[in-house]
Protein backbone atom coordinates (compact mmCIF):
# COMPACT_ATOMS: atom_id res chain seq x y z
CA UNK A 1 0.00 0.00 0.00
CA UNK A 2 1.39 3.40 -1.04
CA UNK A 3 0.24 6.44 0.93
CA UNK A 4 0.07 9.59 -1.17
CA UNK A 5 -0.39 12.96 0.54
CA UNK A 6 -2.11 15.56 -1.64
CA UNK A 7 -2.83 19.18 -0.77
CA UNK A 8 -6.51 19.93 -0.23
CA UNK A 9 -8.06 22.42 -2.60
CA UNK A 10 -7.79 23.46 -6.22
CA UNK A 11 -4.16 22.42 -6.72
CA UNK A 12 -4.89 19.06 -5.12
CA UNK A 13 -7.75 18.46 -7.58
CA UNK A 14 -5.44 19.18 -10.52
CA UNK A 15 -2.78 16.87 -9.15
CA UNK A 16 -5.28 14.13 -8.49
CA UNK A 17 -6.51 14.28 -12.08
CA UNK A 18 -2.88 13.96 -13.22
CA UNK A 19 -2.52 10.85 -11.06
CA UNK A 20 -5.79 9.41 -12.32
CA UNK A 21 -4.63 10.04 -15.92
CA UNK A 22 -1.76 7.64 -15.34
CA UNK A 23 -4.12 4.97 -14.03
CA UNK A 24 -3.92 5.74 -10.33
CA UNK A 25 -7.51 6.87 -9.96
CA UNK A 26 -9.52 6.07 -6.92
CA UNK A 27 -13.29 6.02 -7.68
CA UNK A 28 -14.35 7.10 -4.20
CA UNK A 29 -12.40 10.38 -4.64
CA UNK A 30 -15.07 11.66 -7.01
CA UNK A 31 -17.79 11.45 -4.42
CA UNK A 32 -18.56 14.78 -2.88
CA UNK A 33 -17.96 14.22 0.80
CA UNK A 34 -15.74 15.30 3.63
CA UNK A 35 -13.63 12.20 3.90
CA UNK A 36 -9.87 12.75 4.12
CA UNK A 37 -8.70 9.26 3.19
CA UNK A 38 -9.49 7.47 -0.07
CA UNK A 39 -8.28 3.98 -0.74
CA UNK A 40 -8.10 1.74 -3.74
CA UNK A 41 -7.12 -1.70 -2.50
CA UNK A 42 -6.87 -3.08 -6.03
CA UNK A 43 -4.29 -0.46 -7.05
CA UNK A 44 -2.65 -0.56 -3.64
CA UNK A 45 -2.83 3.18 -3.12
CA UNK A 46 -4.33 5.45 -0.54
CA UNK A 47 -4.75 9.22 -0.92
CA UNK A 48 -4.57 11.48 2.12
CA UNK A 49 -5.92 15.01 1.79
CA UNK A 50 -4.02 17.39 4.02
CA UNK A 51 -3.38 21.11 4.41
CA UNK A 52 -0.89 22.11 1.67
CA UNK A 53 1.76 23.27 4.12
CA UNK A 54 1.51 19.95 6.01
CA UNK A 55 2.22 17.63 3.05
CA UNK A 56 5.97 17.73 3.62
CA UNK A 57 5.53 16.98 7.31
CA UNK A 58 3.45 13.86 6.55
CA UNK A 59 6.08 12.67 4.10
CA UNK A 60 9.13 13.48 6.22
CA UNK A 61 7.70 11.56 9.16
CA UNK A 62 6.66 8.64 7.00
CA UNK A 63 2.90 8.99 7.55
CA UNK A 64 2.78 9.29 3.75
CA UNK A 65 5.26 7.60 1.41
CA UNK A 66 5.06 10.27 -1.26
CA UNK A 67 3.31 13.61 -1.63
CA UNK A 68 2.95 16.69 -3.75
CA UNK A 69 3.94 20.08 -2.39
CA UNK A 70 4.93 23.50 -3.69
CA UNK A 71 8.61 24.39 -3.93
CA UNK A 72 7.85 27.52 -1.86
CA UNK A 73 6.96 25.32 1.12
CA UNK A 74 9.98 23.05 0.61
CA UNK A 75 12.27 26.09 0.68
CA UNK A 76 10.62 27.43 3.80
CA UNK A 77 10.57 24.24 5.88
CA UNK A 78 13.57 22.37 4.37
CA UNK A 79 12.25 18.86 5.06
CA UNK A 80 14.68 15.94 4.71
CA UNK A 81 12.95 14.24 1.75
CA UNK A 82 13.66 13.27 -1.85
CA UNK A 83 12.42 15.74 -4.43
CA UNK A 84 11.81 13.45 -7.38
CA UNK A 85 9.87 15.40 -9.95
CA UNK A 86 8.82 18.88 -11.00
CA UNK A 87 5.15 18.51 -11.96
CA UNK A 88 5.19 21.98 -13.58
CA UNK A 89 1.70 22.81 -12.36
CA UNK A 90 0.61 25.18 -9.62
CA UNK A 91 3.17 27.64 -10.89
CA UNK A 92 3.69 30.80 -8.92
CA UNK A 93 6.53 32.96 -7.72
CA UNK A 94 7.75 34.34 -4.44
CA UNK A 95 8.09 38.07 -4.76
CA UNK A 96 8.65 41.26 -2.84
CA UNK A 97 5.73 43.65 -3.31
CA UNK A 98 4.85 47.07 -1.97
CA UNK A 99 2.16 49.71 -2.18
CA UNK A 100 2.19 51.60 -5.48
CA UNK A 101 4.30 54.69 -5.07
CA UNK A 102 6.30 53.34 -2.13
CA UNK A 103 9.87 54.62 -2.09
CA UNK A 104 12.69 52.54 -0.64
CA UNK A 105 14.77 54.69 1.69
CA UNK A 106 17.45 51.99 1.99
CA UNK A 107 16.98 51.54 5.74
CA UNK A 108 15.79 48.55 7.72
CA UNK A 109 12.70 47.01 6.13
CA UNK A 110 9.63 45.68 7.85
CA UNK A 111 8.57 42.62 5.87
CA UNK A 112 5.22 40.90 6.31
CA UNK A 113 5.29 37.27 5.16
CA UNK A 114 4.18 33.69 5.54
CA UNK A 115 7.73 32.64 4.64
CA UNK A 116 10.02 34.01 7.36
CA UNK A 117 12.97 31.69 6.54
CA UNK A 118 13.01 32.27 2.79
CA UNK A 119 12.52 36.01 3.32
CA UNK A 120 15.34 36.17 5.85
CA UNK A 121 17.79 34.35 3.60
CA UNK A 122 16.82 36.39 0.54
CA UNK A 123 17.24 39.75 2.27
CA UNK A 124 20.47 38.74 3.97
CA UNK A 125 21.84 37.73 0.55
CA UNK A 126 21.00 41.32 -0.45
CA UNK A 127 22.77 42.62 2.67
CA UNK A 128 19.53 44.16 3.82
CA UNK A 129 18.45 44.33 7.42
CA UNK A 130 14.85 43.40 7.94
CA UNK A 131 12.27 42.92 10.63
CA UNK A 132 10.00 39.97 9.93
CA UNK A 133 6.30 40.24 10.66
CA UNK A 134 4.98 36.70 10.42
CA UNK A 135 1.38 36.56 9.22
CA UNK A 136 -0.72 33.55 8.22
CA UNK A 137 -2.96 35.07 5.57
CA UNK A 138 -4.19 38.29 3.92
CA UNK A 139 -0.58 39.45 3.77
CA UNK A 140 -1.61 42.21 1.32
CA UNK A 141 -3.29 44.10 4.13
CA UNK A 142 -0.04 44.74 5.98
CA UNK A 143 1.45 47.54 3.81
CA UNK A 144 -1.95 49.17 3.35
CA UNK A 145 -2.35 49.57 7.09
CA UNK A 146 1.29 50.50 7.64
CA UNK A 147 2.01 47.25 9.47
CA UNK A 148 4.93 46.62 7.13
CA UNK A 149 6.90 48.39 4.37
CA UNK A 150 6.78 45.49 1.93
CA UNK A 151 5.38 41.98 1.72
CA UNK A 152 7.17 38.80 0.70
CA UNK A 153 4.55 36.42 -0.62
CA UNK A 154 3.45 34.13 -3.43
CA UNK A 155 2.11 35.75 -6.56
CA UNK A 156 0.11 33.69 -9.02
CA UNK A 157 -1.71 36.02 -11.40
CA UNK A 158 -1.13 39.28 -9.57
CA UNK A 159 -4.85 40.03 -9.33
CA UNK A 160 -4.90 40.26 -5.53
CA UNK A 161 -1.97 42.66 -5.61
CA UNK A 162 -3.58 44.86 -8.26
CA UNK A 163 -6.91 45.01 -6.52
CA UNK A 164 -5.19 46.09 -3.32
CA UNK A 165 -3.11 48.80 -4.99
CA UNK A 166 0.16 46.85 -4.63
CA UNK A 167 2.75 45.84 -7.20
CA UNK A 168 5.71 43.50 -7.45
CA UNK A 169 9.15 45.04 -6.86
CA UNK A 170 11.32 41.96 -7.31
CA UNK A 171 10.51 38.39 -8.22
CA UNK A 172 12.75 36.20 -6.08
CA UNK A 173 11.99 32.54 -6.72
CA UNK A 174 9.79 30.56 -9.08
CA UNK A 175 7.79 27.74 -7.60
CA UNK A 176 5.72 24.83 -8.86
CA UNK A 177 4.37 21.56 -7.49
CA UNK A 178 6.99 18.91 -6.67
CA UNK A 179 6.66 15.19 -6.08
CA UNK A 180 8.47 14.31 -2.86
CA UNK A 181 9.18 10.96 -1.21
CA UNK A 182 10.15 9.78 2.25
CA UNK A 183 13.79 8.68 2.25
CA UNK A 184 13.28 5.42 4.10
CA UNK A 185 10.01 4.36 2.44
CA UNK A 186 11.55 5.01 -0.96
CA UNK A 187 14.19 2.32 -0.32
CA UNK A 188 11.54 -0.35 0.04
CA UNK A 189 9.03 0.86 -2.55
CA UNK A 190 11.37 2.32 -5.14
CA UNK A 191 10.05 0.22 -8.04
CA UNK A 192 6.47 1.43 -7.46
CA UNK A 193 7.50 5.05 -6.88
CA UNK A 194 9.93 5.21 -9.81
CA UNK A 195 7.23 3.81 -12.05
CA UNK A 196 4.78 6.53 -10.99
CA UNK A 197 7.47 9.15 -11.65
CA UNK A 198 8.13 7.84 -15.14
CA UNK A 199 4.43 7.78 -16.00
CA UNK A 200 3.84 11.26 -14.63
CA UNK A 201 6.90 12.62 -16.40
CA UNK A 202 5.42 11.65 -19.75
CA UNK A 203 2.29 13.71 -19.03
CA UNK A 204 4.02 16.95 -18.13
Amino acid sequence: MLNIALPKGRLGDKIYSLFSDVGLGCPSMNEDNRKLIFESSEKEIRYLLVKPSDVAIYVEHGAADIGVVGRDILLETKPDVYELLDLKIGKCSLAVAAKNGWIDDGGSLRVATKYPNVAQSYFSSQNRQIEIIKLNGSIELAPILGLSDVIFDIVETGTTLRENDLSVITTVIHSSARLIANKSRYQFKSAFIDNICRELEQRI
Binding site: E60, H61, G62, D80, V81, Y82, E83, L84, L85, D86, N182, K183, S184, R185, Q187, F188, S190
Partner: protein
Amino acid sequence: MFSNLPAKEQLPLKLRAVYELYGYKKYNMDKFEPYDMYLENKSFLKYEGIITFTNTNGRLMALKPDVTMSIVKNTSDSSESNKLYYNENVFRRQQAGGEFCEINQMGLEFIGGDDNYSEAEVTLLALRSLEAIDNEYVLNIAHMGYISSLLDYCGVENRNREKCLRLIKQKNTHGINDFASELKLENTAKDTLKAVITISGGLYSCIEKLSAFALNKGMTEAIDEMKGLYNAVKEAGLESKLQLDFSVVNDPDYYNGIVFQGFIPSTPRAVLSGGRYDNLMRRFGKEQNAIGFALYLGELDRVFRKTDEYDTDLLLLYGNAGADRVVKEVERLKNSYESIRAEKTLPVGIRARNIINISESEVN
Protein backbone atom coordinates in the same frame (compact mmCIF):
# COMPACT_ATOMS: atom_id res chain seq x y z
CA MET B 1 19.63 -15.59 27.42
CA PHE B 2 17.93 -12.23 27.86
CA SER B 3 14.91 -13.12 25.79
CA ASN B 4 12.50 -11.85 28.46
CA LEU B 5 14.01 -8.36 28.35
CA PRO B 6 12.29 -5.74 26.17
CA ALA B 7 13.60 -5.67 22.58
CA LYS B 8 14.94 -2.16 23.15
CA GLU B 9 17.31 -3.45 25.84
CA GLN B 10 18.24 -6.64 24.07
CA LEU B 11 19.47 -4.83 20.98
CA PRO B 12 22.54 -3.15 22.53
CA LEU B 13 23.54 -6.51 24.00
CA LYS B 14 23.17 -8.25 20.65
CA LEU B 15 25.17 -5.53 18.91
CA ARG B 16 27.91 -5.57 21.52
CA ALA B 17 28.25 -9.31 21.06
CA VAL B 18 28.72 -8.78 17.31
CA TYR B 19 31.34 -6.06 17.79
CA GLU B 20 33.22 -8.00 20.48
CA LEU B 21 33.29 -10.99 18.16
CA TYR B 22 35.25 -8.92 15.64
CA GLY B 23 37.69 -7.80 18.32
CA TYR B 24 36.32 -4.32 19.00
CA LYS B 25 36.83 -2.87 22.48
CA LYS B 26 34.34 -0.73 24.33
CA TYR B 27 35.15 2.96 24.59
CA ASN B 28 33.74 4.73 27.62
CA MET B 29 33.30 8.44 27.39
CA ASP B 30 33.58 9.39 31.04
CA LYS B 31 34.99 12.90 30.61
CA PHE B 32 33.63 16.01 29.00
CA GLU B 33 35.19 17.84 26.07
CA PRO B 34 35.60 21.59 25.74
CA TYR B 35 32.80 23.34 23.91
CA ASP B 36 35.13 24.93 21.33
CA MET B 37 36.10 21.51 19.96
CA TYR B 38 32.50 20.91 18.91
CA LEU B 39 32.05 24.49 17.80
CA GLU B 40 34.99 24.26 15.38
CA ASN B 41 33.49 21.15 13.83
CA LYS B 42 29.89 22.19 14.12
CA SER B 43 28.79 20.82 10.78
CA PHE B 44 30.12 17.34 11.61
CA LEU B 45 27.29 17.16 14.15
CA LYS B 46 24.11 16.62 12.22
CA TYR B 47 22.04 18.30 14.90
CA GLU B 48 22.12 21.86 16.14
CA GLY B 49 22.32 22.72 19.80
CA ILE B 50 24.81 21.74 22.49
CA ILE B 51 24.29 21.90 26.26
CA THR B 52 27.18 23.73 27.86
CA PHE B 53 28.44 24.23 31.41
CA THR B 54 31.59 25.65 33.00
CA ASN B 55 34.01 23.24 34.63
CA THR B 56 35.82 23.86 37.92
CA ASN B 57 38.46 25.98 36.13
CA GLY B 58 35.84 28.15 34.50
CA ARG B 59 36.30 26.63 31.05
CA LEU B 60 33.22 26.21 28.90
CA MET B 61 32.53 22.51 28.42
CA ALA B 62 29.93 20.57 26.43
CA LEU B 63 27.64 17.84 27.64
CA LYS B 64 28.57 15.17 25.10
CA PRO B 65 26.65 15.78 21.87
CA ASP B 66 28.78 13.25 20.00
CA VAL B 67 31.25 10.45 20.68
CA THR B 68 33.23 10.08 17.42
CA MET B 69 35.11 13.36 17.80
CA SER B 70 36.11 12.45 21.31
CA ILE B 71 37.46 9.09 20.10
CA VAL B 72 39.36 10.81 17.30
CA LYS B 73 40.86 13.29 19.74
CA ASN B 74 41.80 10.77 22.40
CA THR B 75 43.26 7.87 20.45
CA SER B 76 47.01 7.97 20.12
CA ASP B 77 48.30 8.47 16.60
CA SER B 78 50.44 5.36 16.54
CA SER B 79 50.93 2.90 13.73
CA GLU B 80 48.71 0.44 15.59
CA SER B 81 45.07 0.32 14.57
CA ASN B 82 42.28 0.90 17.06
CA LYS B 83 38.96 -0.88 16.90
CA LEU B 84 36.45 0.69 19.23
CA TYR B 85 32.73 0.71 19.80
CA TYR B 86 30.63 2.76 22.18
CA ASN B 87 27.20 2.82 23.71
CA GLU B 88 26.62 6.25 25.20
CA ASN B 89 23.82 8.64 25.92
CA VAL B 90 24.33 11.83 23.97
CA PHE B 91 22.55 15.13 24.50
CA ARG B 92 21.16 17.01 21.57
CA ARG B 93 18.00 18.41 20.13
CA GLN B 94 15.82 15.70 18.67
CA GLN B 95 15.03 17.85 15.63
CA ALA B 96 15.61 21.44 14.61
CA GLY B 97 13.64 23.63 16.96
CA GLY B 98 12.89 20.73 19.31
CA GLU B 99 13.82 20.41 22.96
CA PHE B 100 17.05 18.88 24.23
CA CYS B 101 16.90 15.20 25.00
CA GLU B 102 19.05 12.29 25.99
CA ILE B 103 19.51 9.87 23.10
CA ASN B 104 21.10 6.48 23.27
CA GLN B 105 23.66 6.14 20.52
CA MET B 106 25.82 3.19 19.58
CA GLY B 107 28.63 3.34 17.14
CA LEU B 108 31.86 1.86 16.01
CA GLU B 109 35.16 3.25 14.76
CA PHE B 110 38.06 1.53 13.00
CA ILE B 111 41.03 3.86 13.24
CA GLY B 112 44.16 3.13 11.24
CA GLY B 113 44.73 -0.18 9.53
CA ASP B 114 44.68 -1.08 5.87
CA ASP B 115 42.12 0.98 3.92
CA ASN B 116 40.58 -1.83 1.94
CA TYR B 117 40.15 -4.22 4.82
CA SER B 118 38.90 -1.59 7.30
CA GLU B 119 36.30 -0.55 4.74
CA ALA B 120 35.13 -4.11 4.21
CA GLU B 121 35.00 -4.92 7.91
CA VAL B 122 33.11 -1.77 8.90
CA THR B 123 30.64 -2.15 6.02
CA LEU B 124 30.07 -5.73 7.05
CA LEU B 125 29.51 -4.73 10.66
CA ALA B 126 27.07 -2.05 9.54
CA LEU B 127 25.16 -4.76 7.67
CA ARG B 128 25.29 -7.08 10.69
CA SER B 129 24.01 -4.27 12.92
CA LEU B 130 21.03 -3.67 10.65
CA GLU B 131 20.42 -7.40 10.51
CA ALA B 132 20.19 -7.43 14.32
CA ILE B 133 17.50 -4.73 14.20
CA ASP B 134 15.26 -5.99 11.41
CA ASN B 135 15.24 -8.80 8.85
CA GLU B 136 14.39 -6.35 6.13
CA TYR B 137 17.00 -3.65 5.63
CA VAL B 138 19.24 -2.00 3.04
CA LEU B 139 22.58 -0.27 3.24
CA ASN B 140 22.92 2.52 0.68
CA ILE B 141 26.47 3.37 -0.21
CA ALA B 142 28.18 6.06 -2.25
CA HIS B 143 31.75 7.17 -2.73
CA MET B 144 32.78 10.74 -1.89
CA GLY B 145 35.93 10.41 -4.01
CA TYR B 146 33.82 9.43 -6.98
CA ILE B 147 31.51 12.40 -6.51
CA SER B 148 34.30 14.93 -6.12
CA SER B 149 36.06 13.57 -9.23
CA LEU B 150 32.74 13.73 -11.06
CA LEU B 151 32.31 17.36 -10.04
CA ASP B 152 35.90 18.04 -11.16
CA TYR B 153 35.06 16.48 -14.52
CA CYS B 154 31.86 18.51 -14.83
CA GLY B 155 33.65 21.74 -13.96
CA VAL B 156 31.70 22.50 -10.79
CA GLU B 157 33.89 24.78 -8.70
CA ASN B 158 34.36 24.32 -4.97
CA ARG B 159 32.15 27.24 -3.98
CA ASN B 160 29.17 25.74 -5.85
CA ARG B 161 29.61 22.19 -4.61
CA GLU B 162 27.60 22.52 -1.45
CA LYS B 163 24.52 23.43 -3.45
CA CYS B 164 25.15 20.61 -5.91
CA LEU B 165 25.55 18.04 -3.12
CA ARG B 166 22.29 19.24 -1.60
CA LEU B 167 20.51 18.55 -4.90
CA ILE B 168 22.13 15.11 -5.12
CA LYS B 169 20.92 14.33 -1.59
CA GLN B 170 17.38 15.15 -2.74
CA LYS B 171 17.67 13.10 -5.97
CA ASN B 172 16.62 16.39 -7.50
CA THR B 173 17.36 16.07 -11.24
CA HIS B 174 15.16 19.01 -12.29
CA GLY B 175 17.12 21.07 -9.75
CA ILE B 176 20.37 19.91 -11.41
CA ASN B 177 19.00 21.27 -14.70
CA ASP B 178 18.46 24.70 -13.19
CA PHE B 179 21.81 24.49 -11.40
CA ALA B 180 23.63 23.63 -14.64
CA SER B 181 22.08 26.47 -16.61
CA GLU B 182 22.78 28.89 -13.75
CA LEU B 183 26.48 27.92 -13.82
CA LYS B 184 26.51 27.66 -17.62
CA LEU B 185 27.82 24.10 -17.47
CA GLU B 186 28.28 22.35 -20.77
CA ASN B 187 25.48 20.07 -21.87
CA THR B 188 27.64 16.96 -21.72
CA ALA B 189 28.60 17.84 -18.15
CA LYS B 190 24.97 18.36 -17.19
CA ASP B 191 23.84 15.11 -18.79
CA THR B 192 26.67 13.16 -17.15
CA LEU B 193 25.81 14.59 -13.76
CA LYS B 194 22.14 13.71 -14.18
CA ALA B 195 22.86 10.26 -15.56
CA VAL B 196 25.19 9.38 -12.69
CA ILE B 197 23.01 10.51 -9.82
CA THR B 198 20.01 8.63 -11.14
CA ILE B 199 21.96 5.35 -11.04
CA SER B 200 20.75 3.53 -7.95
CA GLY B 201 19.90 0.00 -6.91
CA GLY B 202 21.82 -3.23 -6.38
CA LEU B 203 25.53 -2.46 -6.03
CA TYR B 204 26.77 -4.99 -8.56
CA SER B 205 24.58 -3.88 -11.46
CA CYS B 206 25.19 -0.22 -10.59
CA ILE B 207 28.96 -0.67 -10.68
CA GLU B 208 28.50 -2.07 -14.19
CA LYS B 209 26.52 1.02 -15.18
CA LEU B 210 29.05 3.31 -13.50
CA SER B 211 31.94 1.84 -15.50
CA ALA B 212 30.58 3.84 -18.44
CA PHE B 213 31.25 6.92 -16.31
CA ALA B 214 34.85 6.26 -15.32
CA LEU B 215 35.90 9.51 -16.92
CA ASN B 216 39.02 10.39 -14.98
CA LYS B 217 41.52 8.73 -12.66
CA GLY B 218 39.64 9.56 -9.47
CA MET B 219 36.41 8.07 -10.79
CA THR B 220 38.11 4.90 -11.98
CA GLU B 221 39.84 4.39 -8.63
CA ALA B 222 36.62 4.88 -6.73
CA ILE B 223 34.76 2.37 -8.89
CA ASP B 224 37.54 -0.18 -8.38
CA GLU B 225 37.37 0.40 -4.66
CA MET B 226 33.63 -0.25 -4.62
CA LYS B 227 34.14 -3.40 -6.67
CA GLY B 228 36.64 -4.61 -4.10
CA LEU B 229 34.19 -3.83 -1.32
CA TYR B 230 31.42 -5.71 -3.11
CA ASN B 231 33.61 -8.78 -3.52
CA ALA B 232 34.60 -8.71 0.15
CA VAL B 233 31.02 -8.41 1.38
CA LYS B 234 30.01 -11.19 -0.99
CA GLU B 235 32.23 -13.55 0.98
CA ALA B 236 29.91 -12.97 3.94
CA GLY B 237 26.84 -13.52 1.76
CA LEU B 238 25.30 -10.10 2.49
CA GLU B 239 26.00 -8.45 -0.87
CA SER B 240 22.32 -8.36 -1.87
CA LYS B 241 21.68 -5.80 0.89
CA LEU B 242 24.17 -3.32 -0.56
CA GLN B 243 22.74 -0.63 -2.79
CA LEU B 244 24.42 2.17 -4.60
CA ASP B 245 22.69 5.48 -3.99
CA PHE B 246 24.39 8.86 -4.35
CA SER B 247 21.79 10.56 -2.17
CA VAL B 248 23.78 9.42 0.90
CA VAL B 249 26.66 11.80 0.09
CA ASN B 250 27.95 13.57 3.17
CA ASP B 251 29.93 16.67 4.09
CA PRO B 252 33.23 16.55 2.13
CA ASP B 253 34.95 18.59 4.86
CA TYR B 254 34.89 15.44 6.99
CA TYR B 255 34.14 12.49 4.77
CA ASN B 256 36.05 11.00 1.86
CA GLY B 257 35.86 7.51 0.37
CA ILE B 258 32.91 5.26 1.11
CA VAL B 259 29.86 6.75 2.86
CA PHE B 260 26.68 4.87 3.72
CA GLN B 261 23.28 4.98 5.37
CA GLY B 262 21.15 2.10 6.61
CA PHE B 263 17.37 1.92 6.42
CA ILE B 264 14.68 -0.39 7.79
CA PRO B 265 11.04 -0.17 6.65
CA SER B 266 9.55 0.79 10.02
CA THR B 267 11.40 4.07 10.59
CA PRO B 268 11.01 7.18 8.42
CA ARG B 269 14.68 8.17 8.66
CA ALA B 270 18.01 6.37 8.35
CA VAL B 271 18.88 4.35 11.46
CA LEU B 272 22.56 4.04 10.62
CA SER B 273 24.97 6.48 9.07
CA GLY B 274 28.70 6.48 8.56
CA GLY B 275 31.66 6.38 6.27
CA ARG B 276 35.35 7.06 5.89
CA TYR B 277 36.30 10.27 7.66
CA ASP B 278 40.03 10.72 7.05
CA ASN B 279 39.37 14.45 6.62
CA LEU B 280 38.07 14.70 10.19
CA MET B 281 41.24 12.94 11.37
CA ARG B 282 43.36 15.54 9.56
CA ARG B 283 41.43 18.35 11.22
CA PHE B 284 42.53 16.86 14.54
CA GLY B 285 46.09 16.61 13.24
CA LYS B 286 46.07 12.79 13.00
CA GLU B 287 47.98 10.88 10.37
CA GLN B 288 45.85 7.75 10.45
CA ASN B 289 42.78 7.06 8.37
CA ALA B 290 39.48 6.10 9.94
CA ILE B 291 36.06 4.72 9.12
CA GLY B 292 33.06 4.16 11.34
CA PHE B 293 29.33 4.50 11.79
CA ALA B 294 26.70 5.44 14.34
CA LEU B 295 23.34 3.85 15.00
CA TYR B 296 20.50 6.17 15.93
CA LEU B 297 18.79 4.01 18.48
CA GLY B 298 16.42 6.87 19.31
CA GLU B 299 14.80 6.32 15.92
CA LEU B 300 13.91 2.81 17.05
CA ASP B 301 12.08 3.78 20.24
CA ARG B 302 8.77 3.94 18.48
CA VAL B 303 9.35 0.67 16.65
CA PHE B 304 10.10 -1.14 19.89
CA ARG B 305 7.32 0.49 21.81
CA LYS B 306 4.84 -2.18 20.80
CA THR B 307 2.36 -2.47 23.60
CA ASP B 308 2.20 -5.98 24.93
CA GLU B 309 -1.15 -7.60 25.13
CA TYR B 310 -0.58 -8.30 28.81
CA ASP B 311 1.40 -6.49 31.47
CA THR B 312 2.29 -9.76 33.14
CA ASP B 313 1.99 -13.43 32.32
CA LEU B 314 0.86 -14.35 35.81
CA LEU B 315 -0.73 -12.20 38.47
CA LEU B 316 -0.27 -13.80 41.87
CA LEU B 317 -2.75 -12.46 44.43
CA TYR B 318 -1.63 -13.23 47.97
CA GLY B 319 -4.02 -11.25 50.17
CA ASN B 320 -3.16 -12.03 53.79
CA ALA B 321 -0.62 -14.76 53.03
CA GLY B 322 2.77 -14.32 54.72
CA ALA B 323 5.88 -13.29 52.83
CA ASP B 324 7.41 -16.78 53.17
CA ARG B 325 4.37 -18.32 51.55
CA VAL B 326 4.46 -15.82 48.65
CA VAL B 327 8.19 -16.38 48.04
CA LYS B 328 7.63 -20.14 48.10
CA GLU B 329 4.83 -19.87 45.53
CA VAL B 330 6.87 -17.58 43.25
CA GLU B 331 9.82 -19.98 43.44
CA ARG B 332 7.54 -22.88 42.57
CA LEU B 333 5.89 -21.06 39.64
CA LYS B 334 8.75 -19.08 38.17
CA ASN B 335 9.77 -21.70 35.65
CA SER B 336 6.26 -22.12 34.29
CA TYR B 337 5.53 -18.45 33.51
CA GLU B 338 7.32 -15.72 31.58
CA SER B 339 6.71 -13.16 34.30
CA ILE B 340 5.08 -13.19 37.71
CA ARG B 341 3.73 -10.15 39.44
CA ALA B 342 2.79 -10.66 43.09
CA GLU B 343 0.16 -8.26 44.47
CA LYS B 344 -1.75 -8.13 47.72
CA THR B 345 -5.01 -7.16 46.06
CA LEU B 346 -6.23 -7.04 42.48
CA PRO B 347 -4.54 -3.93 41.04
CA VAL B 348 -6.45 -1.54 38.80
CA GLY B 349 -5.44 -1.39 35.16
CA ILE B 350 -3.13 -4.40 35.14
CA ARG B 351 -3.76 -6.86 32.31
CA ALA B 352 -2.73 -10.37 33.32
CA ARG B 353 -2.83 -13.45 31.14
CA ASN B 354 -3.34 -15.75 34.16
CA ILE B 355 -4.38 -15.07 37.73
CA ILE B 356 -3.68 -17.32 40.72
CA ASN B 357 -5.10 -16.41 44.09
CA ILE B 358 -3.30 -17.84 47.14
CA SER B 359 -4.75 -15.56 49.82
CA GLU B 360 -5.34 -17.40 53.15
CA SER B 361 -8.99 -16.45 53.32
CA GLU B 362 -9.51 -18.06 49.94
CA VAL B 363 -7.85 -21.28 51.15
CA ASN B 364 -9.77 -21.42 54.38
